[in-house]
Symmetry: C2
């Protein structure tokens, strides 16, 4: 059976206009944000759960390997085909219906292809939002498949904690619908199977609809930049903030001086909050939010933050080198400019890693000490969500560095960093980008054999066909 | 092979002093809070994960059916043996070590047998606690196995959302240890298998250790009682509270007048907050908390709550019939007295159910309308966690009601209520008490066949022996 036959058969299932075969049309589906792209046999664009079921049934019967794709904003090659040309992309982007918003339950029932921005725009009139804060604009299905975290995890948790229910289609001859679209916040009537589909990049089944938790929109925000006196001070500041204003605390983001420098260099419209050329080695962006505007007699959040900063200044441990209140829009603009600034400053080798919170600064100090000896001339431009232990550990090499022509350079570097993260710190080699082809070898390497065996058996139990870029 | 042989063999594994066989010794392990009790072949009391592994290995090889038990505070016969005398109780109560408290990560690594009260007592000096608020004092392992929710779910989520990692032992010939004791808050390196063990009452494996999330201890609390003008007003009040003081909002508990009456009658030391004999049909206990005491210039929480009540009074929808601020200790004493007061007022037939939040009052109104016609002379004494859609729907029949001698009466009543909950409202027949022998028939009845098949296959994939009161 050739691709041509498959295409004819699939056209009968979802309509000719919903299958892309022309290389010009398929190109946007073949290349990710941070990969060189592969080649898709063809691209399928179904409109609803039922069509996905019929597609997966056909593909399971015919051994067609499916790569599910949302907005294709992932960073680990989880949504793009490899270069073989044998895999087929299943775009969920047309399953973008917002079926129902329930303001009393604070939930939304949406199609997997609905974009985060579209959902939040619709929710605004209800004073609600889906409280996962990201730089990108992924689909809700993609967010579930990768269990995204983001910058306000500290307050709201990640996607997993904000999903009440979902529908998924298995890759089997029936294209079985697993209907877990339960609207209850409390439900203990058996194994909670939705967790098999969240964060598994489609390997166990393809999420087509979700019922997600919403939060009241913040109405007031206050932000500050803290310069910790020592790396240890970062932990003190984090704990003290939780104790002294835990109810308001919504972000505690670390930014290395190297990353800030590159952001300022790349985006001349940004203002340097530290004034002139003074850039600290490390800064913390702190955010307080609340769901209302101050009432008569109630302090604005900025005043509260100011009081807390005075308290931190007065601590005998002296955790602060400096602290400045700043406009939330400007400080977040700087924070959000870090990623592109770092990326544009050279060849980026990025690690999305996590630790228990107290280990973040220990790991960074160790890297600053050991990396130059092992791999000289590499800039450490980290930033991340220190409040939840997540680090975007970005290494930047000059674009003309001759080592880049040797494939083993990046492989060895990655292996050396991850070995430290996983083996020395019991950390995570994928904090919030989930699994894609880029992490396959690290999944293979670091996952204990008995866990791999269980994953593999569950995969075989649920699916006869392959429906993911990652092989479990 | 007789029990005698098994006991000798198991004595060699964990020591003679850790096996109970005398009926006098085994009795406390055989009867639950709300069941008449069964009969255990014997009771095993291991001290650590390794002993549990050796026990489960032996039992899997010898087809011994194990019932895991924590503090035996469950309400659905999930931790007690049946009357056959063929099952053996595995008490986890001696795995009560608090291995490590990490104040920076806000986590505790504890043995499954550690009691909630013991953990919280140890955490107090760190200004932290495990934020699951319950009337009972279960073990942490029991809480994970049943995924308990409680009264502050609204703010903190349940046990599932507050578990970072765990260790579990499978019932197979090796007594395989599944080590998922990961300390990271963000970790997306494959399927999150811990969710197979949380809320499954031991059916997939026995949790022996857990790494749980902690929260800063509240330092200030304010409470009020609201009397909603209509059942619909309850939803308005809930949404308005989240919008107007979401950051502080920690409980929204519904209490029926019938339940309040019985609590006051049973506990003469309680004061009636409504004064004299006036008891409303329905009241809401509202709680605000924060992690600090007010600073200079900052309003006490009580003043804030008072402002919000004025705002609610002024709403054109007129959601309030009455509202009164009250001492948190006194109001919570009333709330916590409801369960026993109801139980002591007759024969209790209890339902732990959940709905999407907007359906709670609709369901209650429907029951008040339909129950008397279907099943006359039954008092509806509900209370519950309306903020998360959970309802303790308690029906009370006079103890001398002749219908109680007919077994089919309770069965028919249960079936009639659950049919309404599950089939008319898409609600949950077990909100936060999880599964036990008491819900087996409802799991069998309401779980879709393809979900049951998956559960059963996962069970067989993980375990060769039976290690739970519930059969999946």
């Amino acid at each position: 059976v050739t691709n041509h036959n498959h295409i004819s058969a699939l056209e009968k299932i979802i309509g000719k206009e919903n299958i892309l075969t022309d290389p010009h049309d398929t190109a946007p589906y073949e290349k990710g944000w941070r990969d060189d792209g592969g080649k898709a046999a063809f691209v399928l664009r179904p409109h609803n759960t039922n069509d996905v079921s019929r597609i997966l049934s056909y593909c399971a019967k015919n051994n067609i390997h499916i790569i599910p794709q949302g907005a294709n904003t992932g960073l680990v090659s989880g949504s793009t085909p490899d270069t073989s040309g044998a895999h087929c992309v299943l775009s969920l982007s047309r399953l973008n219906t917002i079926f129902h918003i329930d303001p009393i339950n604070r939930t939304a029932h949406v199609g997997a292809g609905c974009k985060l921005s579209a959902l939040n725009a619709t929710l605004e009139e209800h004073g609600l939002y889906f409280p996962i804060d990201l730089g990108a604009d992924p689909t809700i299905g993609g967010m579930l498949a990768t269990n995204t975290g983001g910058g306000r995890f500290l307050k709201y948790g990640g996607v997993r904690e904000n999903t009440l229910g979902l529908r998924a289609i298995l890759s089997d001859e029936d294209g079985t619908l697993i209907d877990l679209l339960h609207p209850c916040r409390k439900n203990n009537t058996g194994p909670d199977l939705k967790h098999l589909f969240i964060g598994t990049s489609g390997a166990f089944g393809i999420i087509t609809e979700a019922l997600v938790n919403l939060a009241p929109l913040p109405q007031q925000t206050a932000t500050a930049l803290l310069i910790p006196r020592t790396p240890e001070s970062v932990n003190t500041l984090l704990m003290e903030m939780e104790r002294r204003c835990g109810n308001y605390f919504s972000a505690f983001e670390g930014m290395s001086g190297e990353a800030i420098k590159r952001a300022l260099a790349h985006s001349p419209t940004l203002t340097n909050p530290f004034g002139r050329d003074a850039i600290p080695n490390y800064a913390i962006l702190l955010e307080l939010t609340r769901t209302w505007t101050p009432r008569v007699g109630e302090q604005p959040l900025t005043d509260i933050l100011e009081s807390i900063l005075s308290e931190l200044w007065a601590m005998p441990e002296e955790p602060l080198e400096n602290a400045l209140l700043g406009d939330p829009a400007k400080l977040w603009a700087l924070r959000h400019a870090l990623s592109e600034g770092v990326q544009k400053s050279g060849k980026l080798i990025a690690f999305d890693i996590a630790f228990k919170r107290g280990d973040v600064m220990n790991f960074l100090m160790q890297m600053h000490k050991q990396l130059p000896a092992q791999f000289p001339d590499i800039a450490i431009c980290d930033f991340g969500h220190i409040g939840d232990g997540g680090v975007h550990f970005n290494l930047v090499v000059a674009k003309d560095d001759p080592r880049l022509s040797d494939n083993s350079f990046e492989t060895n570097l990655r292996r050396w960093v991850y070995d430290c993260v996983v083996r020395e710190y019991n950390g995570s080699f994928s904090a919030e980008h989930a699994l894609g082809r880029k992490n396959q070898m690290f999944y293979d390497l670091y996952t204990p054999q008995n866990i791999k065996n269980i994953n593999h058996k569950i995969k075989n139990l649920l699916c006869t066909g392959e429906i993911s870029a990652i092989l479990l």
